[in-house]
């Protein structure tokens, strides 16, 4: 090969890496974790792919993945929502309360969906109408939901409630059902995200709101709709969260918003949103996140250390994918 051809090949590779760097890092991260834990857990004699561990893994990944897939829309706008955990807490509580009161899970789900859509509209439009950063309005919203949850539980005089044993929740503990629901949700969200105006406008708004507005897009409307998608996905996640134990408490969902954020970033989601946002980021990130959560204890890392290790991995991925690179551009 001539020197020029070699040079050209090197440059093509560099350009390709520049364009796909974050996908390479996120998929590479997932593959690394998978290979690493396959080998190390194998050596410890308890493979991460054994039936029992696999079911733990799926149980761990499902709630985060269902939430993260819904949050893709929000992050593509360049927004962030810290009320996710409290929403899951409230929906889980409502599922139990309404389910117990009516004796029917479908009615509880339907009622929860209606409430979720209303909450989504308020959550999405608050920041827009009051001209606040979306993250700030979601902090306010998180506090409001905390307040509501506290009132509910203090009125009930308990800190946790269980679903009436008459309502069968075994389906929500089946790994195959978890995978099926996640697949369906991902397919539906992908359809709306890639093949309808909702996703196209959300990404365009994230990339340049002014230009999108001047192209005739109603910014407020298409900034609010993503929150409705999120709310519906959060109800789905709440079903599995509550279904796993058959109960809900005043601390259900605490910190989930951070799991969603870490998962999306691990999956290569650009924090500024825009055209490079992908649904796959949610799945890849949640899988990596759960592999770490399940794999680290098996290889003997004390639970107290797992947070630190997760933080280091998170930092490494952020440094590779999210950092701003600047310099004079060729003109």
């Amino acid at each position: 090969m001539t020197a020029i051809a070699q040079e050209r090949e090197k440059q093509t590779l560099q350009q390709w890496l520049k364009k796909h760097g974050s996908s390479v890092a996120s998929i590479g991260g997932l593959l690394f974790c998978a290979v690493f834990f396959t080998i190390t857990t194998g050596l410890k004699g308890e493979s991460i792919w054994s039936a029992s561990k696999l079911s733990t893994l799926i149980g761990d990944v499902i709630v985060t993945a269902l939430m993260a897939v819904g949050a893709v829309f929000i992050y593509s706008l360049g927004n962030m929502d810290v009320s996710i955990g409290k929403q899951v807490g409230l929906y889980s509580t409502l599922l139990v309360l309404i389910g117990n009161a009516t004796g029917s899970l479908p009615i509880a789900i339907l009622a929860c969906l209606v409430i979720a859509v209303i909450i989504g509209i308020i959550n999405g439009s608050a920041g827009e109408l009051l001209h606040m950063y979306s993250v700030i309005s979601s902090v306010v919203f998180m506090m409001v939901l905390s307040g509501i949850s506290t009132i509910i539980y203090s009125n009930l005089g308990t800190r946790n409630i269980s679903m009436n044993p008459g309502i069968d929740l075994t389906l929500f503990r089946q790994p195959w059902f978890m995978v099926l629901v996640l697949a369906v949700e991902t397919a539906v969200i992908s359809y709306f995200f890639y093949f309808t105006k909702f996703g196209k406008y959300a990404r365009a708004i994230g990339a340049n709101q002014t230009a999108t507005s001047q192209s005739g897009v109603n910014i407020i409307l298409y900034r609010v709709i993503p929150y409705i998608f999120l709310a519906v996905c959060l109800v789905t996640a709440s079903l599995f969260q509550m279904g796993y134990t058959g109960a809900a408490s005043d601390s259900t969902g605490t910190g989930f918003e951070m799991n969603v954020m870490v998962s999306l970033i691990l999956g290569g989601m650009p924090l500024k949103g825009g055209m490079k946002s992908k649904v796959a980021c949610a799945i890849i990130g949640s899988l990596t996140f759960s592999l770490l959560a399940v794999g680290l204890p098996i290889i003997g890392v004390p639970t107290k250390m797992t947070f630190l290790i997760k933080a280091i991995i998170f930092l490494a991925v952020v440094l590779i994918t999210c950092r701003q690179k600047s310099g004079p551009l060729p003109r």
């Binding site: 309808t196 406008y201 990404r203 365009a204 005739g216 055209m275 003109r331």
Partner: protein
């Protein structure tokens, strides 16, 4: 006698990855020169001086400044040594005062025991502003409250000091108002008289021919030729220079050649008694197949008229009508067949960080939608059609807009509206920062649009293109119409300027 050489570059080469911006360039600059640098986008004209002023290093070659080898490590180093460059993009620091901008990096001059005396700095800054003839800018004000044009002048004040030996003006004039340009022209001539050197990078041929003492033409990273003042005064100089820049005969046809101002009888867009801020009771009727040109200084209100016509502003009175229906929002404008190309191409007209295809189809999405589904094939077809029609230089619709040259970016913003099939197109500074080759293509395109019966409102700060293209010309000053004139062969810029200033 030849004047003393102040700067010299030998065998300068610059590569950006696979792109070669400068091949092997020798460039000499003498004291007292106002050297014009012209060339199409990507010819390397900005690159030479960005290397000389420390913005980026050369890949190969050597430089000499005042007879000594020259290798600046940063723009600050170059500026301290006397080479200053005013850039195309906005370069002021937001959130602080004008005075802090002017003296950024020189705060020590105003400080005692580590505490800066703001009144002292403000006073000194105001003095400098006055000396440049821009006393209307107040040193104590926040920089953010000034317009882009004024901020550019502040930048000029910051860059030019008594120590400046070489001033590089890179496409700055497109960002300046006419008064701003006059201030800049006066300054560079004064500096040249003092034996300093000026390098003037510009797309505006008239300006280059008026202001420069020498001219260097670049094409594809090579210096193609050099013209002296005498050669620039030759009768067919413009044609020669254009030929050198483009490398082929682009023909005599540049603007429209006909003087036929006839157009359809039907009114395509009407502004009825509109008022907004200082604009009071403005009226305009744009007909099918008509090009109305609007000219004036940049703050005269003409850009606001464009925004009003597109429904971007909340009016305090009057209305905008299309086919008898009122337009209040951009969405209503688009649905009734009106398109708008903002003068701020990179921030308002385009999603730079997005593919060409997504930009082109964005306004057409509702039309492509079938029961919520938008077919990727239909999107690609529409976008490929526009890429083909405008001959946008790209690898395909998935290429990001921020990788395109200025002219091709502008073609994408035109493509958005032709893809949508807009019947009325409001274009604000449509050829800003675009090469002559592309400009020529755009003028032909605008002429074709007229022939197809489209109505065009062309707002521009370049009088020559308005005279060259419009059926009717409206001149504004201080938010009022001061002059209206029909297209005619005898119309000259000088006849119009008096109504602008």
């Amino acid at each position: 006698m030849e004047k003393e050489i102040i700067f010299e570059a030998k065998h300068m080469r610059k590569e950006f990855g696979p792109t070669i911006a400068l091949k092997d360039v020798d460039f000499t600059l003498r004291r007292g020169e106002i050297r014009g640098l012209v060339g199409e986008n990507g010819s390397g004209k900005s690159t030479i001086m960005s290397i000389a002023s420390g913005m980026q290093p050369a890949t190969k070659g050597e430089m000499f400044y005042k007879g000594q080898p020259w290798k600046p490590g940063s723009m600050v180093e170059a500026q301290d040594a006397g080479i200053s460059m005013i850039l195309q993009e906005a370069n002021t620091i937001p959130g602080v005062t004008v005075a802090q901008n002017i003296f950024s990096g020189h705060e020590a001059e105003f400080s005692k025991f580590g505490i800066i005396s703001m009144p002292k700095m403000k006073k000194a800054a105001q003095k400098v502003l006055e000396s440049f003839g821009i006393g209307h800018i107040k040193a104590g004000d926040l920089i953010d409250q000034y317009t882009f044009e004024d901020r550019k002048l502040v930048e000029l004040v910051r860059c030019v000091t008594d120590q400046t030996e070489i001033l590089v003006v890179d496409e700055t004039t497109t960002a300046l108002s006419l008064e701003g340009r006059e201030i800049l022209y006066k300054l560079i001539h004064k500096m040249a008289d003092q034996g300093k050197a000026i390098v003037f990078v510009s797309h505006d041929m008239d300006e280059i021919l008026e202001q420069c003492t020498d001219l260097t033409v670049l094409r594809d990273g090579d210096i193609i030729g050099h013209l002296t003042r005498e050669e620039m005064d030759a009768p067919d100089a413009v044609k020669t220079i254009r030929y050198m820049m483009v490398g082929r005969e682009i023909g005599d046809k540049y603007y429209r050649e006909d003087y036929d101002t006839s157009h359809g009888a039907e009114v395509a867009l009407e502004l009825q008694d509109v008022s907004l801020g200082k604009i009071k009771h403005f009226n305009l009727k744009l007909h099918k197949g008509e090009i109305i040109g609007m000219g004036g200084l940049s703050g005269c209100g003409m850009h606001d008229i464009g925004r009003i016509a597109y429904g971007l502003e909340k009016l305090s009175g009057g209305k905008v009508l299309r086919n008898g229906k009122e337009i209040r929002t951009p969405l209503q404008a688009i649905n009734s067949g009106v398109g708008y190309i903002s003068k701020n191409r990179d921030t308002e007209a385009l999603i730079l960080n997005g593919p060409i295809q997504d930009n082109i189809v964005l306004p057409s999405i509702p039309a492509l939608e079938k029961k919520t589904f938008i077919s990727p094939r239909a999107e690609k077809k529409l976008s490929d059609r526009e890429i083909g029609n405008y001959r946008i230089k790209c690898h395909g619709g998935r290429q990001y807009v921020n990788t395109l040259s200025g002219g091709n970016k502008q073609k994408v913003s035109f493509g958005k509206w032709t893809a949508k099939g807009s019947e009325v197109i409001i274009m604000d500074c449509p050829t800003r920062g675009v090469d002559i080759g592309v400009k020529q293509a755009m003028y032909t395109l605008i002429e074709d649009m007229k022939k197809e019966g489209k109505a065009i409102l062309m707002i521009s700060e370049e009088l020559s293109e308005l005279i060259g293209m419009a059926d009717r010309l409206i001149i504004m000053k201080d938010f009022e119409v001061t002059h209206q004139v029909e297209r005619n062969p005898d119309l000259k810029q000088t006849d119009l300027i008096e109504y602008m200033i």
